[in-house]
């Protein structure tokens, strides 16, 4: 069991504002499922059934602070507006888990003053959008001064899928792979084939499968000499991903904007754009959650670019991803 203390809290971002330093307590997100009693007349006890609707709430207690970009600036006049939040309870380190979400945040914000105490700020949020729990930090919250990316240390999706033994590859285009046991792959999955011998051309490497049946799938390779043996392991994830980018202090210093992307790669060698966030022009703080239908390849990384030309630019940036399905 791993225990966490208050020093483990990496960040609490609301709409691009980092509020961790003035918060003393953070509860949530509480995710609750709406239910409706399904029983009719004549029954003694209610029989609640889930309606399929869920909602989330967050509560925070902390110090009142009206410094620039602190909690008062973040919360005043912000009721019933679209907000993006992210909370990292396991530390502000790439690869660590975090929760994030976006949507209408009906917030209650109160300043509490009392005798002999510092003024407090109390906020509660009721979030109408989806909450993504156990997302992963791609780019830890921190300042960047120049264009960059995290592709040198991408986040592996942590595949835990079992390798499936391959019996043979057929002479065909596309080649049909026979597996020794049910493979559980679906059409569109990326699999890493390793140790397959004798085929022309070699089929080892990343291939995208088309499911035929429980023990057959095809790969888009024109095999002229069949092979045998080896394994296939699924490396991509299905059902897409939700990604978050949060930009705090931003100095463009003549640059046109800041462009942020999430990129993925099947092999960790070549990375391709997965999604691009709306460009940040420096007008106010910015945070955005975007989704991609997937599949998402094994490695994910953040990428950012100060567009145009300028002087001493900087941005307080955090990027994360939540794969909407793990590897089974």
């Amino acid at each position: 069991m791993t225990m966490y203390g208050s020093d483990s809290v990496g960040f609490f971002l609301v709409g691009g504002y980092e509020l961790k330093g003035v918060i003393t307590e953070l509860e949530g997100p509480f995710i609750s499922s709406a239910t409706e009693d399904s029983n009719g007349l004549g029954t003694q006890w209610p029989v609640p059934l889930a309606t399929g609707m869920r909602s989330a709430e967050l509560k925070q207690n902390g110090f009142f602070d009206d410094a620039t970009n602190s909690i008062h600036a973040a919360m005043k006049n912000q009721q019933d507006v679209q907000r993006v939040f992210a909370v990292a309870l396991h530390g502000n380190v790439a690869g660590k888990l975090m929760d994030f979400g976006a949507g209408g945040m009906a917030s209650k914000y109160t300043r509490v003053s009392g005798r002999g105490t510092l003024h407090k700020a109390v906020a509660e949020y009721r979030i109408s959008g989806a909450i993504y729990q156990d997302g992963v930090i791609l780019k830890a919250l921190g300042s960047v001064a120049v264009d960059g990316d995290t592709q040198g240390a991408p986040i592996d999706n942590g595949i835990a899928a079992a390798a499936v033994a391959i019996t043979s590859s057929s002479v065909a285009n596309p080649s049909i792979i026979l597996t020794a046991v049910p493979h559980l792959f679906e059409t569109g999955d990326t699999v890493a084939i390793a140790g397959h011998a004798g085929s022309t051309p070699a089929i080892n490497g990343n291939q995208i499968v088309t499911k035929i049946d429980a023990t057959h799938f095809s790969i888009p390779v024109n095999v002229t000499v069949g092979g045998a043996g080896g394994t296939a392991t699924r490396t991509s994830t299905r059902n897409g991903a939700a990604c978050i980018a949060s930009v705090g202090d931003l100095v463009l210093a003549g640059f046109t904007n800041l462009t942020i992307k999430v990129r993925d790669s099947a092999d960790g060698v070549t990375f391709a754009d997965l999604l691009t966030f709306a460009v940040v022009t420096g007008v106010g703080r910015a945070a955005e959650v975007k989704t991609d239908p997937g599949p998402i390849e094994r490695y994910a990384a953040a990428w950012w670019d100060f567009t145009g030309a300028g002087g001493a630019s900087s941005a307080e940036l955090m990027v994360g991803i939540k794969r909407l399905e793990g590897v089974s």
Binding site: G152, A266, A272
Partner: protein
């Protein structure tokens, strides 16, 4: 004795399989290497893309054969909210 030249069936000619190279592909999205170096911008030929990456990139539609109909860039991702 006359000698006859025996006719032999013509052996079928096996055309060697020519695997497409990076030059045969055009990038649909921006492609970079692990060090962040640009390999191909959208519309560029993929000469600099490592050959081992061509397969999955082509199968995912992130690169297309140069003579293929122009692909629509991945614009399927959606923004949920900004603030």
């Amino acid at each position: 004795m006359s000698s006859k030249t025996r006719k032999t069936a013509t052996e079928p000619t096996v055309e060697p399989t020519v695997e497409p190279t990076g030059h045969d592909y055009v990038a649909v999205v921006s492609l970079t290497n692990a060090e962040g170096g640009l390999l191909a911008a959208p519309g560029d030929r993929c000469d600099q893309v490592p050959i081992e990456s061509l397969g999955w990139l082509a199968q995912r539609g992130r690169i297309v054969l140069a003579d293929a109909p122009p692909a629509v860039s991945e614009a399927t991702n959606e923004s949920e909210a900004t603030s």
